[in-house]
């Protein structure tokens, strides 16, 4: 298995290089002079030239990329145009609330999603199933920003239970993580159901029944473990959905995280921050999927014992 994991990690290196190159090119694809973009809107001609030299924008592209890559590896993500602060510091200030929000969302989404999926699979084609799956397809179709706004109206404006925004204390995490996790919860529920229904048709289930096992042992002792292995993978793929959604949900709740930083930076044309954030989101996504692969290989004895 270690061999498999090492292989898997090594195979990520070219992907990370290409992704970083694509993000590096970001500033060059934007119409206009990169030096002017990086020096800011109000920069004078001299300032633009200075930026060009100090940032090495007069050098050939490949050389610039190596400089960029070296910077990345040493944690240098450039400087914000807006505040002049190092981008790594801006991101460092915002990353914890976003990670907390994402973690809470995926946590409740997994728990509720798997439970809903199990109920639907067990009561297949009966009313709890229909209800569960209708809830799920609704969850996938809900615009998360609308859910956020409705929650604010209900729980902040009318009931006054939760704050409308910010990230002060656990109360301000409840509504955003609900809005953010709803879609994923629904996808996990759907997938758990179909995976479990599929497992229930396997030969070893019939074998279990022939041994005299009851429905409880069949579902929880035999079918569920087999069904949850693919659910893990799907949850990993949906993590991207969560990262994208966090930008929107953070905006709704004026949540001081990476998402609001990204949108603010886009509106201010603070390109170094935008560039760094997009790279960060992609790397996060890639790493989460690596993590999922590792978990998967631990859960699946076929890979573990190779």
């Amino acid at each position: 298995m270690w061999q498999y994991l090492v292989k898997r990690i090594i195979s990520l290196i070219p992907l990370l290089l290409v992704v970083s190159f694509v993000v590096f090119m970001f500033i060059h694809i934007i119409p206009g002079d990169p030096a002017r973009l990086l020096a800011g809107k109000e920069a004078t001609v001299e300032e633009v030239e200075m930026a060009r030299q100090s940032l090495g924008l007069d050098k050939p592209l490949y050389e610039q990329y190596f400089v960029y890559l070296k910077g990345l590896l040493s944690g240098d993500l450039g400087y914000s145009i807006k505040s002049g602060a190092p981008v790594s510091k801006l991101i460092g200030d915002r990353i914890l609330p976003t990670l907390g929000l994402t973690f809470l969302s995926i946590l409740w989404a997994l728990i509720v999603g798997i439970l809903l999926g199990i109920i639907s699979a067990v009561f297949r084609n009966r009313w709890p199933d229909h209800l569960g799956m209708f809830t799920a397809v609704s969850g996938i179709s809900l615009p998360n920003f609308w859910v956020g706004l409705v929650l604010i109206q209900l729980f902040s404006v009318q009931l006054g239970i939760f704050p409308t925004g910010g990230a002060d204390g656990w109360k301000s995490y409840i509504m955003p993580s609900f809005a953010l996790g709803a879609g994923i919860m629904a996808m996990i529920a759907r997938f758990t159901r179909s995976s479990l229904v599929d497992s229930m048709k396997q030969d070893y289930i019939r074998m279990g029944r022939a041994k005299g096992l009851g429905s409880g042992s069949i579902v929880f002792g035999h079918a569920l473990k087999n069904s949850l292995i693919p659910v893990v993978t799907v949850a990993g793929l949906q993590f991207g959905f969560l990262l994208g959604g966090s930008v929107v949900v953070e905006t709704v709740f004026s949540f001081p995280g990476l998402g609001t930083l990204l949108i603010d930076s886009i509106q201010f044309r603070d390109y170094p921050v935008v560039q760094a954030e997009i790279l960060l989101f992609a790397v996060q996504f890639i790493l989460v999927n690596l993590l999922i692969d590792i978990v998967y290989s631990f859960l699946n004895p076929k890979i573990r014992y190779e």
Partner: protein, 335 residues
């Protein structure tokens, strides 16, 4: 010999969009203690559905028992609640399936899967069940039983898995074992080993075995009595010796002819033309008539009844006529 199992007029169907579609059309047979009864027929003849009906194993499938009785030691299994029925499965009546590769749960260790049955039916604590499981594994000829308990199914060969399954299913000393094509998926040499093992166990424990197969060669080797099924009905029933010496139904004859024989030259193997009719589209009259080389006019019109002469039952007009001739012959002089 005491009677262990008696199936009476069993009818089983599948739920379809157009309603319940019968696939087993009222079959009756019995299995005695210490007896191995073979059920043969091509795929689609209803052998497996029959075995699943006895065990009432139609969870999450469209199968449904429509009518009939299954008397096990005199008690009708169809009258039991699911809760009571569970106590019979794996304990009184066990079952082995065709696919050893997929019949074990891939994510659970052999030990856990072995113990499960033992803990459930014999009320043993975990440790004791563990030792008992090892003992049972050894009794089916598994040498490194201790190590095996900690392994996963994919680490074993097909033959080894089938041994594990047999061990699992005999661990609670059932009186009846239903084996549904237990050797079909295995290599020929392994097949022989598994058959010997089953025979051995049967002699040792005196249990009854209902052996389902499409392979008459296997039947000849292991069974005492044979039931031939076609399109959800019994078409012939006799002892093994009788059936091979004097097969009556053209279908049985066809099956016997299609078994390869030792010393046979490279001649093409005989096979019965056509296939088993689809349950949605059953022929009128004898279900085998469209494929039968002896079919007469009456065969296409009316279904023959199962008739028993000297413990040899056949469902075929040919013999009905012979009997009629015999009856007529008694009053007539031969010309």
């Amino acid at each position: 010999m005491t009677e262990l199992l008696r199936v009476k007029n069993l009818r089983t169907g599948f739920r379809t969009e157009n309603g319940l579609l019968p696939v087993i059309h009222g079959i009756s047979f019995h299995v005695n203690q210490g007896e191995i009864v073979g059920v043969v027929g091509e795929s689609g003849s209803g052998k497996s559905v029959t075995s699943l009906s006895i065990m009432r194993l139609f969870h999450d499938t469209p199968g449904e028992i429509m009518d009939g009785e299954v008397l096990y030691k005199g008690e009708n299994l169809f009258d039991l609640t699911e809760k009571r029925m569970k106590q019979y499965r794996g304990n009184e009546i066990s079952m082995i399936f065709q696919e050893p590769m997929t019949s074990l749960n891939p994510v659970l260790k052999i030990g856990k899967q072995m113990r499960e049955t033992i803990e459930l039916h014999l009320n043993m604590p975990k440790k004791e069940a563990h030792q008992y499981a090892i003992k049972t594994l050894k009794s089916v000829g598994i040498p490194r039983a201790e190590d095996l308990m900690d392994e996963y199914p994919h680490q074993l060969s097909g033959g080894m898995r089938q041994r594990v399954i047999i061990a699992m299913q005999i661990s609670c000393n059932p009186s009846l074992l239903i084996a549904d094509e237990p050797t079909t998926a295995l290599d020929v040499t392994i097949q022989a080993q598994i058959l010997n093992l089953m025979k051995e166990i049967q002699v040792k424990t005196n249990m009854g075995i209902l052996f389902i197969t499409h392979d008459l060669g296997v039947v000849a080797e292991i069974c005492d009595r044979v039931i031939v099924m076609y399109a959800g009905k019994i078409v012939e029933e006799a002892t093994v010796e009788e059936l091979f010496a004097q097969p009556k139904h053209p279908y049985t004859k066809g099956l016997i002819e299609s078994v390869p024989k030792i010393g046979m030259k490279s001649e093409k193997l005989y096979s019965i033309p056509g296939t088993v009719p689809n349950p949605t589209n059953m022929p009128k009259g004898c279900k085998f008539a469209p494929r039968c080389e002896h079919a007469m006019a009456i065969c296409h019109k009316k279904e023959p009844a199962l008739m028993t002469v000297n413990h040899h039952a056949t469902r075929c007009w040919l013999y009905d006529e012979e009997m009629m001739k015999d009856k007529q012959g008694e009053g007539m002089t031969n010309g």
